[in-house]
Amino acid sequence: MESRNIQLAVGVFVILGILALSFLGLRAANSNAATQGETYKLYAKFDNIGGLKERSPVKVGGVVVGRVSAISLTGDYYEPLVEMTISAQYAEFSETTSVSILTSGLLGEQYIGLNPGFIDDTVVMLEDGDYIYDTKSALVLEDLIGQFLFSQGSD
């Protein structure tokens, strides 16, 4: 009788733990829909990636479609290469798609913005492992100031 109560109490305890965990997993965390299940990889070279990090989001019009999965340097001139893992749900990007590194808000984190290109019979769709060539690098504050001063001086 007593041991039955103990079993019951421990059972309730474990159920509470599972409930709390699922609350945390489902309610508090992003369930990572963008990079779970089927994914494919796209690559892009930039001149400067600014403050981009691994796991930074990849967004189309503000909607998260994937995440940055690796950042490395490539080629003879050490160009930054960004590997993006995109959800297979969004597999229809054309080769005219462009990527840019953007900043959310004035002080926010940097993320990658994908601009889907036009689609007609002459363009090919991007597939797993393809490179996106139309890239815009991150804005670096010092460069901006330099440009501003330069344009002032030339007036």
């Binding site: 421990v10 508090a28 965390a29």
Partner: protein
């Protein structure tokens, strides 16, 4: 001067010997084929004593800490017009740090000290010797189920602590101070990661569970079997376990998020 150096040497030797004895105790307790039929009820009973009975203190402190985080976070964030970040602030503080750490500290104080005192008293009243003379290994019979119970219970308690804490932050932030309901959860979801934050928090908690339970059991098992000895061992459990948790927390945080 020489005396001081000799004292330091003795203290070092004692510490090393203690660590070795603690390792030996744990090894002897855990290695070997467990007899499921006999050890299952023992384990359940200990999870009840160590885990279920700690539930109230964990839920109450989780709720209050979450509410305080909500209140403090709001007053700071509202100055920057960033009160919508209250959700992730509360959630991340709890999941990464406060959940595992405060749970481990409370666990050391409530369950750890009880384990030390219980085993110390069993030693003082010759119950451990008596088990041994009955050809029952006290390490397997007494120490092992308590160890596993602590090891399983603490991560569950930490998860419950974090969940209740987030709810506490929600009550204060949203219901009381008027942060937007939708923004609270959605900004939290955008910033809390299942693996980086929740899983790492649970890993921390598992490490703390191992260390705190181990310290508590060893202090009880090795105590001087007198009333003074047991009271010293109990104090020492709480102090050593708390320091170990805080020190390890720094190391783990540096490894995980550094």
């Amino acid at each position: 001067m020489l005396n001081a150096i000799a004292k330091l040497g003795k203290a070092t030797l004692d510490t090393i010997a203690g660590a070795g004895a603690a390792l030996l105790m744990l090894g002897k307790a855990l290695i070997g084929v467990p007899q499921l039929r006999k050890s299952w009820p023992l384990l359940l009973q200990q999870i009840y004593a160590v885990g279920v009975l700690s539930l109230v203190i964990i839920v109450v402190s989780g709720l209050f800490i979450g509410m305080v985080l909500g209140l403090q976070g709001y007053t700071i964030l509202v100055d920057f017009g960033a009160e919508q970040s209250l959700g992730p602030m509360v959630a991340l503080s709890l999941l990464r740090e406060l959940g595992p750490v405060v749970t481990a500290l409370l666990f050391a104080g409530r369950a750890g000290s009880a384990l030390t005192a219980e085993i110390g008293l069993m030693k003082a009243t010759e119950q451990l010797s008596s088990l041994e003379m009955m050809a029952v290994d006290p390490l397997r019979r007494v120490v092992a189920p308590r160890f596993w119970a602590g090891f399983y219970s603490m991560p569950i308690l930490a998860v419950i602590f974090s969940a209740v804490g987030i709810y506490g932050g929600y009550i204060v932030g949203v219901q009381w101070l008027g942060v937007d309901d939708g923004a609270f959860w959605s900004v939290m979801q955008a910033n809390v990661d299942l693996y980086d934050d929740i899983l790492n928090g649970i890993i921390k908690s598992v490490v703390f569970a191992f260390v705190v339970t181990w310290i508590a059991l060893y202090k009880g098992y090795s105590c001087v079997p007198t009333s003074v000895g047991i009271s010293r061992a109990t104090t020492s459990t709480v102090v050593t376990a708390s320091l170990a948790v805080l020190g390890l927390d720094f190391v783990l945080t540096a490894l995980m998020f550094g």
